[in-house]
Symmetry: C2
Amino acid sequence: MVQEALVEIRRGTAEIIDLERITFLVERFFKTGERYKVKAGFDPTAPDLHLGHTVLLQKMATLQRYGADIQFLIGDFTGMIGDPTGKNETRKKLDRETVLQNAQTYKDQVFKILDPEKTQIMFNSKWLEALGASGLVELATTFSVARMLEREDFDKRYKSQTPISISEFLYPLLQGYDSVAMDCDIEMGGTDQKFNLLMGRHLQRIYNVGKEQAIIMMPLLEGLDGVQKMSKSLGNYIGVTDSSLDMFGKVLSISDVLMWRYYELLSSKTLHEIGQLKEGVQNGSIHPKAAKEALAMEIVARFHDVKLAQNAKLEFDRIHAQHDLPSDLETFTCKGPIWIAKALVDSGLEPSTSQARRDIAQGAVKCNQKKLSDAQWQIPEGEYVLQVGKRKFIQLKVIS
Amino acid sequence: MVQEALVEIRRGTAEIIDLERITFLVERFFKTGERYKVKAGFDPTAPDLHLGHTVLLQKMATLQRYGADIQFLIGDFTGMIGDPTGKNETRKKLDRETVLQNAQTYKDQVFKILDPEKTQIMFNSKWLEALGASGLVELATTFSVARMLEREDFDKRYKSQTPISISEFLYPLLQGYDSVAMDCDIEMGGTDQKFNLLMGRHLQRIYNVGKEQAIIMMPLLEGLDGVQKMSKSLGNYIGVTDSSLDMFGKVLSISDVLMWRYYELLSSKTLHEIGQLKEGVQNGSIHPKAAKEALAMEIVARFHDVKLAQNAKLEFDRIHAQHDLPSDLETFTCKGPIWIAKALVDSGLEPSTSQARRDIAQGAVKCNQKKLSDAQWQIPEGEYVLQVGKRKFIQLKVIS
């Protein structure tokens, strides 16, 4: 049991510091039922989570099954500074109201993954404000400028003469102090957070709280392209608030290799179950697309519900998988809204708008398998399959 | 009038930033009677002031005559960090109680120089505590790490890998914020404080208080040796709590050149009066020793009173200036306590301790003009004039 738990806990992690302590905590839970505290901090500047953010949440959900009480920390105080980690310039400050709005959005989203019974939502303004100016000065005595400048991104910025605000030096200290105030046993974070995560251990030692937290670091999730990390700005993401259909379609679009990576980091299936699936795909008893559909269904069901997941699958099939559509449909992209006759001409399906109007009038033009009758239709943003007669098809993408 | 005031204000200063603003403030005072705020911060870690510290206080007293309301700032908050300026390592933190005790000592001493009617004693804990943790973080956003590391002492320490605590980076910011909170027009300090003094201007600009303080920097006072700066640790100081006799004697011991420097920086005499004195000494109408005695009397009267100053002069004369003492008395220094007979032999006044004992028994040995009778006397620390017979003298210095 303990071994199985530890295998699931270690699954997909990038690095673990103090595995002995984690083993001890899990063993104690199985023996005595005593629970332990696992902290993960979220910076409330990015309220629209994407699947990359949920890698941590999935691991937290796993830990909940093995004795963890999750301390879901919303850095409403530190959010006013903004974590400079990995950024090349000083972040803009968020005002308090925005921070609280963003925090609410987090709360709305996290219980789609975490067990609310075993989760405490915390705000670090509680103890960081209470620290007061003198407490903060005291905290700032515990670390040196030189050691702070050793942090990779600070080092780079300092050397390239990109300004580092002094408040940014306070950020890792404040984040580390959270671990003191929260008395936490394990902290989780991304690999890019290693410096800050270690600061928690450092400060627990300095403040003499009688424990030093173990650390679990998760890798950054690859985006839909399978190469770069998932990110809003790169556009290669699946947002947790994406529509069920979008979400389903995006999962279906990933490569088979990336699918197994997503299974490892995002699926609630056990490693054993995933192993069986993989075996099925390898010996040909399961089609890779079926495995991908199962993953897509699981993810849509998580962020919407099972019914919407089923509908998404049906809708997706209807659009993409009808047997009378060619499998090598060409895509034509244009700005919208666009007049249907112009779209037919621009995409090459019709020689002229007058011909297009005639064909529409004769019922020879279909959009998404349905006959069109309105020759004046202005097509709004979206994806469509246009068809003229029996043989001419195009996938039309109307963008803003 | 204004011109005369400005001459007195500029007297002895090392550097002034924004003389235009000072001129404006003084002119306005002479025209309308409107007063202005002059801040000087004192770090409550050195409660025993020496004359070096009073150079600033003298200038503040001068400004009080020309319209300044003095904001005598006791850095009880910043004192918990300790100003790292010019120090080669992180200072020890003072506990709150010590800081407050030291602050009381300051208060006891400053009104010997400043006009209490025009002085407000302030403690920066008042507004710095109120700043809270978030206010302090906000403050820390206003300055960059690189610019802070440009400060000479930080730069040296960083390059020599001497740790700089992050709290030390907060010190100049906090000191600068004092100027914002105190709404001050002029700040005064030593030349070594230039970086911190400019921070006050910087933050008044950032916090948009509608003014930028002028800055008056005073030089460091030379110690009794006339070379190194006056300092407790170098032993070349006159403490404001020294006895009247010590104080008088120490002033008398300085060189004539240093005397004029002390007149410039420490005397309440006007430049005009000092000019007359100097002229008198130059044309021979005033003996340099008389000028030095006048300075000594002024200083003793300031920190004790006029009567004690007169007594000190009389006592000093009695010891040092009796006409039967040679003027070129040699000094012999030894460790004490020392047996009188041994001192007489070691200093060369007597050929042997047995001869010394005989002379004492016969009343031929004097100490400070008084006949000695106890041949077993162990001489404690201090300075003495020993005399054997009519012609043999020595100044004996017994040290620990």
